[in-house]
């Protein structure tokens, strides 16, 4: 018996970590070995491994920051740290950026699954990707009210490296989604690597570049220096909050306590885990890494805002919405005049902030 306990293998892992196939919503038993190898093989050819990242040709993603973020934790001669992602992020976000790291199951809300290329707290309209500064802001400020801490103490160089690595995992993730449809739904494998790059990776990368043009530039906020100016803005905001066109009350409740009539809300990462009946939901559970988690509309009286509590942060949440959630974009975007004018959004911001403890001051 003791011999079995001392069986060869030892205490150290010699296998480097590998990216895990994204089987969310699919039965892994139905994925054949050749199919799995086709997808993972194509991805490795294009994007490398967690230790050795690669960037497909034609994609503007500098390799140096990625090398700083990738790989095992270590340090260079000048004292700078390597393996930043594994040190700071992987425990929650997972090696593959799947939001299902070892700690993830403890949290509500779950850590972000980067592989869909959808991010909640952005400054870009029209469903576009975030810009780099959005992700940097998230790292600097953390996400108050959740388990995502602030990484403000990291150097700018380290934050840039982590942001670039998140973008890398995201582009890889979207390429993987494309390949999953190609190989599993369309039955097209072995995979033509050039096709995977051309139709999977390049459009994903292009959408990150296109986002730079979609940053919302709000008008200057109204002056709130006098009591009269403030009360006018608050009154307008209160009226807009209750208006049928904006529909804030439906989720956030008449007093902004997050107790609106819409009680069963889910973000896009969890929506797929829901069946039509409770029994169906139970059956679906085995196809997903983490159990179903509900979304709670913000209770403004708490004064805690995940995406930041500055007026500009709240402005952005209203104008461009919170992507991946039922919180829609109320401001104008290409092709849509929106439900609210930008000037009115500022008044709504005043009102929402005023609900917090101490009147939002």
């Amino acid at each position: 018996m003791v011999f079995l306990l001392l069986a060869p293998g030892g205490c150290t892992t010699t296998e480097p970590p590998r990216f895990r196939l994204n089987t969310e919503g699919r039965d892994p038993a139905r994925i054949s070995r050749p199919q799995q190898d086709a997808i993972l093989g194509a991805l490795e050819g294009l994007f490398g491994t967690p230790d050795e990242p690669k960037v497909p040709p034609g994609i503007e993603l500098p390799l140096e920051p990625l090398k700083m973020a990738a790989g095992p934790v270590g340090s260079a001669e000048d004292g700078s740290l390597w393996g930043l992602y594994r040190k700071y992020c992987a425990a929650c976000h997972g090696i593959s950026g799947d939001g299902a790291g070892p700690r993830a199951a403890l949290f509500d809300p779950y850590p972000r699954d980067f592989r869909h290329g959808v991010y909640k707290y952005t400054s870009t309209a029209g469903g576009a990707k975030p810009v780099r500064t959005d992700l940097q802001r998230t790292l600097h400020c953390g996400i108050p009210g959740t388990a995502m801490p602030s990484f403000d103490r990291l150097s700018d160089r380290e934050i840039v490296a982590l942001v670039q690595y998140v973008v890398y995992l995201s582009i890889r993730g979207e390429t993987e989604l494309f390949l999953l449809q190609l190989v599993l739904d369309e039955d097209e494998y072995p995979v033509d690597k050039a096709k995977a790059a051309r139709e999977g990776a390049l459009p994903a990368a292009a959408s990150w570049v296109a986002a730079e043009k979609m940053v919302v530039q709000p008008p200057p906020p109204p002056a709130l220096d006098t009591a009269e100016q403030l009360s006018t803005s608050l009154a307008r905001g209160r009226k807009l909050f209750a208006t049928k066109d904006a529909k804030c009350v439906q989720c956030h409740g008449p007093a902004g306590k997050g107790d609106g009539e819409q009680s069963e809300l889910y973000d896009d990462w969890n929506k797929r885990k829901r069946g039509v009946t409770p029994q169906q939901t139970q059956e679906l559970a085995r196809l997903f890494r983490l159990p179903l988690e509900q979304l709670r509309p913000r209770n403004f009286t708490e004064g805690i805002f995940h995406g930041g509590a500055r007026p500009i942060d709240i402005y952005r949440r209203i104008h461009v919405g919170i992507k991946g959630t039922p919180m829609p974009a109320a401001g104008p975007a290409p092709g849509s005049s929106g439900a609210l004018k930008p000037e009115d959004i500022w008044h709504l911001v005043s009102f929402v902030r005023s609900l917090g403890p101490g009147g939002g001051r």
């Binding site: 469903g127 989604l177 494309f178 829609p328 974009a329 092709g335 439900a339």
Partner: protein
Amino acid sequence: MFQELNRRQFVAQTAAAACSLTAALGCPAVVRAADTKWGDLVGRLVYDGTAPPRQKLKVDKDLDCCGKFDIRDESLMVGSDGGLMSVFIYLRTVKVEICPELAAAAPKRVTLDNRDCIFQPHCMAIWYDRQEFYIVNSDPVAQNVAFTPLGDTPANIVLPVGGDASHQFGRKQNLPVPIACNYHPWESAYILPRDNPYFDLSQADGTFRIAKVPLGMLEFQAWHERVGYLDAPQWPKGRFTVTVRAGINDLGTLKLNPLLLVKK
């Protein structure tokens, strides 16, 4: 003096001249040379059984507006004579020649209307680089239109009362994209963006028609909301190949066993 014509232009011009000549003479028009380049694909899909009654959906928001409608599940629509409605039939073969007449003939817009607290139509397809995806709210309450096409920009648009919006797809999809409304969870629709006009949705009588398809061997795909690819014995994984000839290519009536349409 003479314009250099390629063979196709020469034949077309001759045929056009012959057509107008015979029309002037009161003779029946000859088949235009252009028609021998394209074929029409037609067929009919029938639900071979009694359709189950459509379930009432849970309408629990904006009841003062939406409560008065009898809103029922639209995922299986069978006509009075058994016709299976809203099956997407679309061309799978890539890089095909598109009949030039179709660009002019295609409606400028494919419209999604929020009306009577449901999306109308429930299923639609769009030639995304030629047609405009136009979304309008005809209801007296604010509506939301949210969808996430694979590898393309997602949308989550608020439409105030009487509001409208336009969405541009960036690429074709191989599977219809589900559309949801975050304000009214019972609402759903599907849109399939394609890069050619060779698609159709079966009508209430189960018939479908894809006009002016290029000649030759082509592969088509059938998709239904309940099951995804319409996997039938005659159409494994919902796919079928047709050798398209000039004129009408009638696939006939395909009777589908109700078990094929049971939600997985």
